[in-house]
Symmetry: C2
Subunit: 766 residues, 2 copies
C-alpha cells in the first residue's frame, strides 16, 4: 500500500517558513509519501547543525546506517548537502556527518531529470526541501520534478514524481564523488580509480565506483550498487568517459561510467531501490531486497522511524520540556548514532565472526562523549563497536584513531581508541576480550608506526619513550605528548583491572609525561605554567621554526595563544592540533589534581579557569576543551561548572540549522550537548559522571535489564540554577560525581535547586 | 579452424618415456590440439626445475602473463603442480613460479568431471601429462577425460575431451586457493575472505574469489573471472558453503561458492575461455574476448608461442649447441620472464598513465640477475617495470622489496628495489624519472617503516643510522646491515649521476657500514674476519639469545657456519636470512676491493675463496652467494672464477625436472644460469659484466636499434676451458669486464680458449 497525502500539519510546523511556493511555474502540490513522524522521533530535526560549521548529514539514515542518501550540492561539501539556492548534482548514497577536511564518499549518484538520454549532467535547483528523520524531499525549480527519499540500513528508497508532460529519465553516475580537486592527487582529495555500470534488465542496473584518498588519504574503496525500479525502462544508454553507447555494460577501464534510463511518458511516479555493498553488486542486490522486501515507500519510512524511536525511548525527558529543548536533546542523540557505520558482513578485507564497523571519523573527536553516550543508550552496540576496533587491530595491525573506506587514518593526536577500550572496561561492558584489547593498546604504545604514522599508531613514539615528551619539530608534538599520557593512563587502567600490576605501574608513571612539557615559570595573562614547545635537548623554545625550506629558516614567536602557523605550514604540522596552549594546558582529563598542582593550587586554578573563559581562550568548537567547563568540579565548585556549561549552551547551541558551534564530528558536539542537558557529564576512560545543573528538569535512562535511572532537578528554573543538595535513592548525596555502577543499578538522583550556589558538591567522591 | 591431430614427433621426444598408456581402461588416443612448437621456443621445457626445490610453474603462460593456469595437485604446493601420481583438484588460473614459504594464489579453480551436478569436489589422478611452452595436457585415470590448456595474456583457454558414454560436467570453484591451513590465520597462510558465482546464461559463468595472506601476509586481493563455453549447458547448480541450489547466483556472504554445469551427452569436446581480472568480472569478460577473439585453441597456442619466440630471438646461440644446453639456456630465459606480472590497466588501487606490475616475488632474489637479463633482452619492458616500481612508491608510500596481491611485502633483507633503479640508471634506460626514483630510494633510506617493516622499507633503520650497523636482536641484523650498505651505494650512484654530489658522498660513506659488523680478528677454518653479531654497545657476541620467552633465556654459540636457530625461532628472526656468515661475509658486491682489504689482501682472499668452495660453505641455492664464484676476478684470476662457475653448473644444473638447485624464485636461479652460459655475468647496480669461460661457444644479443653483440669462444671444449686472450671488435681486450655501453654499441668479443690458465684478465678494467 502506498500512502500519498499532502504534508501533515506536524510537518508544516517543522518546516518553518519555507513553504511559500514560487509562482513562476505551475508546480504540483508538495507530495509527502512518508509515514507519520510521531513519538520522540518527531523531535529529531536533521537540519540542526547542518549550516555553518556543523556540517551534519541531513538525509535519511538508519542508526549507524550504511546507506546515507542525500542531495549532493556541488562536489565540495563534506556532507553532500548545501543550503538553497545551491545547485543539486544528484543524490549519492554514501555520506558522512559533521566532518571537516577533505570530503569522503558521495558515491553512486542518481539524478532524475526531464532531459533526454544524452543529458549526462542534469543539474537542478531546489524550490523547497522537506527534511525529516528518515525522509527527504525536494522539488526542482526547473521542471517541478519531486524527489522523495527514505532508507533502510543498506538500501535507499527513492520516489520520483515527474511532471505530466515531460521526458522522464534517470541518471546513474558512477563517476561522481565528493572532494574532487583540480590536482587529482592533492592531499585529502578523493581520487577516481575505476567504475562500472551494467543495465541488467528493463528495471535493474548495477555497477560500482572505486575511489581512493579523501581526508584519511585512504586506500581505494569500492561502493557497489544494485538498483531496481517499479516502472520498466523504455530505453537506456550507458556511457564511459562522456561517450555514450547502446551497450548494456561498460566494463571498468578506470574511467567514469554511468547510464541514463528512460521511463514511459505515462509514468508519473517511479520508485527506485538502491542497495549498496562494499563486497559486490550481487550483495548489494541482496541488501536491497532484504532491506526493502516490498515497494511501499511509507512502510520503509515507518521502519526507519521505528528504529530511531526504539533508541530514543531509552531516554525519557520531562513531559513539560519546551519543544526547542526536546529538539536539541533528541537530535543530539540522533546525531550521535549516525556513525560509526555498521558494516558487519560487508568487510572486503577479512572475515571473522566479529562485528565490523567503519567510519570512525574520528575517535579523537568522539571518544570523549559519543562513546559514553552510546554506552548508556545501547551498551550492546558499544560492545560490538569495541569488538570491531580490537578486530581491526588483530587483522590490520593497529587500532584506528580514525578509519573510513576500510582504511585506518588519519591520526589527529594520539591513539585514542585506547580510551574507548578503557571506557568499556571501567563500565563493565561484557563480551569483549580485554586481554586482546590490552595487546592492541600496547601495540600503539610500543611499536612506532614509522612512515605510516599519519594512518595509525603513535607518531613520535620513539622520542616520547626516550625523552618523556615529543620534541618540537615532530608534527603535533604538544598534543601528542598530552594525549599519549592520557592513553598511557588508559593502558594502566586496563592492565590494573586485569591484575597486571607491574605493567599498570609502568604506564601510570608514563601517564605523567605531560608534565615534561609543562613550562612552569612561563606567565601569560597573569597565569603561570603552560604546555609549550621544547627541543630534544630539553630547551624551551620562545621562537620556533616552521616548515622545511632549505633556504629560508625563519622563526616565529610561539606563545600560549598561538593557534596557526604561517600560511605555507600545514596545520597538522603545528605544535598543537587545532588549538592553542591555553586550551591544551587544561586538557589533562586523567590527572586533574596533578594539573591543579602544576597550576599552583586550587586558587590559582580557579583564577586560571576564570581567565580562560572570560578572556575568550576557551574554544567551544574543539574537542580538547570538552571537559574544561567542568574542571571547577575538582576545586569543589560545581556551581561554577554549571554556570559555564549553561552559558555555553545558551550562547552556542540552539535548534536551528546553525545550532552547532563547530563540526559535529559524527556526533561529538551533539553528544557533548546531550550529556550536559541531563546534568551528567562523563570523563571518558573513568567510571564516573560529573553532576551539574541540568537543562532538563528530569531525565530517565531506561537501562538494560529493565532498570531505570532518573535525574530530577526539583525547582529548576532560570533563577533556581544552583544545586543546593542532592539525594540518591532518598539518601543525602553530597558529592559531585555519580559512579557508572550506581547509575546502571537504577535509582533516582534528586537535585534540589536554588537561586544561589550552596555548599553541595565540595568534594568529588564519597 | 580447429586443428586436431595426434601428438607430433617433436613432442614425443620432449615427453621422454611417459607415453606408456595404462591398459586398465580403454583410453582415447592422446589428443594434441596445440600448434607446432618450433624455433627457439621448442627448447623451452617448463618441466626443468619443476621438481625438487625448483618449484617452477609448469603451466602455459605468456611472457609476464597475468593468467597462469595449471593443475592444482592438493592445496599445498607453491606452483600448484606436483609430480604424478599426486591427485589433481582442478585447474586454477593464477600461480607464481619458483617461490618458497607460504603459497599465494591458486584462484578460480575449474575441474571437468564425469560426476553428477552434486559432485562438488571431483578429485582425479593423471595418467600422463604433456607439458610444453604455452600448452598443458593430461588425461585422468579414473575416466579417461582429457584436458588441454593454453593461454592468452589475461585469459586461459581449455579444451576438455570427455569420454563418449559419460556425464559431462564442469566445476567452477571460487572457494579454492593454495596455502589453506588448519589455523586459518596462521602466518603465511592464505585466508578466505569472500567469493561469488553467477551463471549468466547457458554458456557464461562469472564470479570472484577474495583471499588475503600468503607468504607476504598481504591484504585481501580479488580475482574476478568470466568464463564462456562453446557448448551450451543443459543444466547447472550453484553452491555456497557446500549447500547446492538452483539459483543462478550466489551472492557474497563471505563463504566459498561455486557452480557445476552440465553439457549434453552428445558433446565430446567442450572448449572454455576464462578471462581473469583484478577489477571486475566485466573486465574479465573483456580480457577473455580481447585476448581470445575466436574459438581456435591452436591459434591461441600459436599466439603465445609467437610471443615467446619474439623474445627468445633476441639471443641466438651457436648452431652446434647441444640440445641439453639449448634447453637449459632458453628455458632459463623463459623462467626469467614469467614474472613480475604485467597488470597494467588492472590495478584496483589507483589509476595512473604508468604501467603496473605485480608479483615481485621477491626483488631480493631477482635484482642480481633477472633484472639485468630482462634489461638485455627487452629494455623497454625493464623500463616499464622500473616505472611501475617508482609509481608504487608514489602511491603506496614505499618501493616494494617484494609484492604480490597488490600489496607490498615481505621484506627479506633490505630495500633492493633501490638496486633495480640504480641498475636501470647506470645502463641508461630511457623514459624513467630518476629524480622521482631517487626520492623513492631516499624514502627507504630515511623513513623507518615502523610496525610495517615486514611489508616494506628498511626495518632496523634507526639503529642502522645511529650505530652504523644493526645490533643483534633486531631480526636479520646481519644481512640487513650488509644489504642496506649496498642499497646506500645504489643511492650514491644515482645521486652522483644526477649531479647531487653532497648526497652522493654521504651515501657513499654510509655504504661502508658493512665494515662495522666485520669482526676482523675472528678466525674460522684458517680464515680471518667475518661479519658477526654485535650488540648495541658495540660488543661482539660469541653466544646469542634466541626468542622472546620471559622465563627461559638460553643462549647459543654463534659461529660463521651457524645457519639456523633452535626450532622455536622463526628463521626470519635470525642474524642472517637463509644463509651463514661464511656466505654473507663474501656478499659485498659494491665494494669487493674493500672486502679484499678486510680479508687481509689478495692472497688471503684467494685462500678464503678456495676454502669457501672446497669446504662446502658455498650454498648454490641461495642468492646472496650469486656473485661469489666470480670474486676471483677481483684478484686477477678469472680462470678460477670460470672453474668455479663451470663446476657449479655441471654439478647443480641440468635440463631435467630437478635441474635447478634451489627455489627458482621467479627466475633468479635460471637467469644466473643463463648469464653464466654466455660467459658474461652482471654485477647489478654496476655498468659492467664480468667475462669468464662460457658454456656456449657463441652467443649473439640482438639489441634494440638493430645492433648485435656477439661473444665467441674460439676453440672452447672441455679441455680448452681457459681464456688465453680476447679481442673486442678485433682489438686486443685484456681486461676481464665488459662495459654495458660497449655491449649495447654492438660488436664482437672473441675469447681465445686454451687448455691452461693464461695471463688474460689480470685486471678488471682498462
Amino acid at each position: 500500500m502506498r500512502l500519498l497525502f499532502l504534508l501533515p500539519p506536524v510537518m508544516v510546523a517543522a518546516l518553518g517558513g519555507s513553504l511559500s511556493v514560487s509562482a513562476q511555474t505551475a508546480a504540483p502540490q508538495r507530495i509527502y509519501s512518508g509515514a507519520p513522524v510521531t513519538g520522540r522521533t518527531q523531535y529529531i530535526d536533521p537540519r540542526i547543525g547542518s549550516e555553518g560549521l556543523g556540517r551534519v548529514f541531513i538525509g535519511p539514515s538508519c542508526p549507524f546506517g550504511m546507506v546515507k542518501p542525500s542531495p549532493d550540492c556541488t562536489e565540495s561539501p563534506n556532507s553532500g548537502w548545501l543550503p538553497l539556492p545551491e545547485q543539486v548534482n544528484g543524490f549519492a548514497q554514501t555520506h558522512v556527518s559533521g566532518t571537516g577536511g577533505g570530503p569522503k564518499y558521495g558515491n553512486i549518484l542518481v539524478m532524475p531529470s526531464t532531459g533526454g538520454l544524452d543529458c549526462l549532467q542534469p543539474i537542478a535547483h531546489r524550490r523547497w526541501e522537506t527534511i525529516l528523520p528518515g525522509y527527504y524531499a525536494t522539488e526542482f525549480e526547473e521542471n517541478g520534478l519531486q524527489t522523495e527519499i527514505t532508507t533502510a540500513q543498506r538500501a535507499s528508497f527513492y520516489r520520483f514524481t515527474y511532471p505530466a508532460d515531460s521526458l522522464k529519465t534517470l541518471l546513474f553516475d558512477c563517476g561522481f564523488y565528493l572532494g574532487r580537486q583540480p590536482v587529482p592527487d592533492g592531499r585529502e582529495a578523493q581520487q577516481f580509480v575505476g567504475s562500472e555500470i551494467q543495465v541488467l534488465s528493463d528495471h535493474e542496473v548495477c555497477g560500482y565506483s572505486r575511489i581512493r584518498g579523501g581526508w584519511n588519504n585512504g586506500r581505494a574503496y569500492t561502493v557497489y550498487f544494485f538498483a531496481e525500479t517499479d516502472v520498466p525502462f523504455t530505453d537506456f544508454i550507458t556511457f564511459k568517459d562522456g561517450r555514450t553507447s547502446h551497450e548494456a555494460a561498460q566494463y571498468d577501464s578506470q574511467q567514469p561510467t554511468g547510464a541514463v534510463v528512460r521511463f514511459p511518458a505515462s509514468a508519473r511516479q517511479v520508485q527506485l531501490k538502491i542497495g549498496i555493498s562494499f563486497l559486490s553488486s550481487l550483495k548489494a542486490r541482496q541488501n536491497a531486497r532484504e532491506g526493502i522486501p516490498h515497494w511501499s515507500f511509507s512502510d520503509t519510512h515507518r521502519d526507519v522511524l521505528q528504529q530511531w524511536e526504539t533508541l530514543l525511548e531509552r531516554i525519557d525527558i520531562a513531559p513539560d520540556t519546551p519543544v526547542a529543548q526536546r529538539r536539541m536533546f533528541y537530535t543530539g542523540l540522533y546525531h550521535t548514532m549516525l556513525m560509526p557505520v555498521d558494516r558487519s558482513g560487508e568487510n572486503p578485507l577479512w572475515v571473522d565472526p566479529v562485528p565490523y564497523y567503519d567510519d570512525f571519523y574520528a575517535i579523537w573527536d568522539t571518544y570523549r562523549t559519543s562513546t559514553p553516550l552510546i554506552t548508556l543508550i545501547d551498551p550492546r552496540r558499544e560492545t560490538d563497536i569495541v569488538r570491531s576496533l580490537i578486530n581491526i587491530w588483530k587483522r590490520d595491525g593497529y587500532l584506528p584513531d580514525a578509519r573510513s573506506g576500510n582504511c585506518n587514518g588519519r591520526t589527529q593526536g594520539g591513539s585514542n581508541a585506547e580510551i574507548v577500550i578503557a571506557d568499556a572496561f571501567v563500565k563493565g561492558l561484557d563480551g569483549i576480550d580485554y586481554e586482546q584489547g590490552l595487546q592492541a593498546m600496547l601495540k600503539d604504545a610500543t611499536v612506532p608506526p614509522g612512515g605510516n604514522e599519519e594512518a595509525e599508531g603513535r607518531g613520535g613514539l620513539v622520542p616520547y619513550l626516550q625523552l618523556g615528551y615529543i620534541p618540537y619539530g615532530i608534527p603535533r608534538a604538544g598534543n601528542r605528548t598530552i594525549e599519549y599520557s592520557f592513553c598511557d593512563y588508559a593502558i594502566a587502567t586496563v592492565a590494573k583491572g586485569l591484575g597486571k600490576e607491574e605493567l599498570a605501574q609502568r604506564y601510570l608513571r608514563q601517564s605523567g609525561n605531560w608534565k615534561n612539557l609543562w613550562r612552569a615559570d612561563y606567565e601569560h595573562e597573569g597565569v603561570k605554567g603552560f604546555i609549550l614547545p621544547r627541543d630534544a635537548q630539553g630547551r624551551w623554545l620562545d621562537r620556533v621554526p616552521y616548515g622545511h625550506s632549505e633556504v629560508q629558516r625563519p622563526t616565529f614567536v610561539y606563545t600560549p595563544v598561538t593557534f596557526e602557523g604561517p600560511w605555507y605550514t600545514p596545520w597538522w604540522d603545528m605544535f598543537f592540533y587545532e588549538a592553542s596552549s591555553w586550551e591544551y594546558s587544561l586538557s589533562i582529563p586523567h590527572d586533574v589534581p596533578g594539573l591543579i598542582g602544576q597550576c599552583g593550587g586550587e586558587e590559582a586554578f580557579d583564577h586560571r579557569l576564570d581567565t580562560f573563559f572570560d578572556k575568550g581562550f576557551f574554544n567551544v568548537n574543539n574537542e580538547p576543551s570538552f571537559l574544561s567547563p567542568c574542571l571547577y568540579h575538582w576545586i569543589g565548585r560545581p556551581d561554577k561548572s554549571s554556570d559555564r556549561v549553561l552559558a555555553i549552551i545558551d550562547r552556542h547551541y540552539n535548534d536551528s540549522p546553525s545550532g552547532l558551534p563547530g563540526n559535529d564530528d559524527s556526533g561529538a558536539m551533539s553528544s557533548w550537548l546531550a550529556f550536559h542537558m541531563t546534568g551528567l557529564y562523563p570523563n571518558a576512560g573513568h567510571d564516573y559522571y560529573l553532576i551539574h545543573t541540568p537543562v532538563l528538569t528530569a531525565t530517565t535512562f531506561h537501562l538494560t535489564e529493565g532498570k531505570d535511572f532518573t535525574i530530577r532537578a526539583e525547582g529548576l528554573s532560570a533563577k533556581n540554577r544552583y544545586i543546593q543538595s542532592a539525594t540518591l535513592n532518598g539518601q543525602d548525596y553530597p558529592c559531585s560525581t555519580l559512579r557508572h555502577a550506581d547509575l546502571t543499578a537504577g535509582g533516582t538522583l534528586v537535585l534540589k535547586m536554588g537561586p544561589k550556589p550552596g555548599h553541595w558538591g565540595t568534594k568529588l567522591f564519597n
